[in-house]
Symmetry: C2
Subunit: 215 residues, 2 copies
């Protein structure tokens, strides 16, 4: 379904943008995409700061000009506006469990990868935290980050040893965030799924084979 009243400001190389692209693909929704060129720091332009004062991608802009930043907020808008193929749960209990698991994937996985990369890569000097303000890199966070990612993998393996998907019986936004986290850790830090984490590997192969994963 093509939706002509939404615009997604995003970048092809941005893992947070990919979370939203996969979510849209699962729902079968096409929206207009406006590329923001992170390579030339377009996210810091005055034009983009007016859309998203945190100067990060992605941002979803509604027909009335309302700009929605933050991936879980974009997920929420899309789920409410396009409830078919639910990705955030259907009952009160399931909705809460998806929030909980998606958040754990993000705070313990995605954010750990992100802070490791941001505190390590020379090109991100002075930009150790995404957002409106500049912060210096802290090298000790890089060492800690690698340990956090290993701990994330261990916890994910324990979870997937007993459940087919991260939030339980059904594919949800929690799987999207976990998949993007693993691909990001593999690409940026060469920290892929550890050998022996068989439940995670089985789940990964299943989720990465969905057509949405190409988004």
């Amino acid at each position: 379904m093509s939706v002509d009243n939404l615009k997604l400001y995003e970048s092809s190389g941005s893992p947070n943008s990919r979370r939203v692209r996969i979510f849209l693909a699962e729902k079968g929704i096409c929206v207009a995409r406006v590329p923001v060129d992170l390579g030339v720091k377009e996210q810091f332009s005055d034009a983009y700061a007016r859309i998203n004062p945190r100067r990060v991608v992605p941002t979803l802009v509604l027909e009335d000009g309302t700009a929605i930043g933050e991936v879980p907020a974009i997920f929420r808008y899309l789920e409410e506006a396009y409830p078919n193929t639910p990705l955030l749960g259907t009952t009160a209990k399931d909705k809460a469990l998806v929030v909980m698991w998606e958040r754990r994937m993000e705070l313990e996985g995605f954010a750990a990868v992100m802070e490791t990369v941001r505190n390590k890569v020379p090109g991100l000097k002075g930009r150790a935290i995404a957002g409106a303000h500049d912060y210096d890199q802290i090298p000790a966070i890089v060492d800690r980050g690698r340990q956090r990612i290993l701990d994330f993998y261990a916890d994910l393996e324990a979870r997937l040893a007993t459940e087919p998907f991260v939030a339980g019986d059904r594919f949800s936004a929690a799987d999207i965030t976990a998949l993007v986290t693993i691909d990001f850790a593999t690409r940026a830090l060469e920290l892929g799924i550890p050998d022996g984490n068989d439940a995670t590997r089985l789940w990964y192969d299943k989720v990465a084979a969905r057509s949405s994963a190409a988004a």
Copy 2:
């Protein structure tokens, strides 16, 4: 309204527990509270780890035994199950905006206060990140944290200079998280609202005067 099929595991001194207590008070819901004594590290007991493997409070336990951790997940359950007095928005757009603003208050405010405290306080040595795993303190995070909190206050002032509440026209969960953040920063780090932040002060006095703030 007294609800007899929910149990909230929480601690009186825990800022995350307070976020949920205020949310419940705004909705006029009373649930059974089970105190978890952080002073004797009861959150690390085997009994509590079975309820919440991240070993943090609060946790909301449903009648069927389902345990919901993470404050935004508990908010979501309560809003879905008890929709009166909405605190997470009513339209698709408002729901997304509340997620966005509540999250900004948490990631830029609450989390900055929390990481500063956890990396500073001697009693939290080896526990610099809440959760199932132990991480050493990193002193450089404390200095950065104080700057992050000042940046949070500046951004909040800019927002409240044009809007009556954090997420816009109406009181929401975003105000709850902002209020708890400020009280936490004031109590734990003596970093209260800076002089001259008049819009924030006006908003604070209004929100702190609500009966829910005593929760």
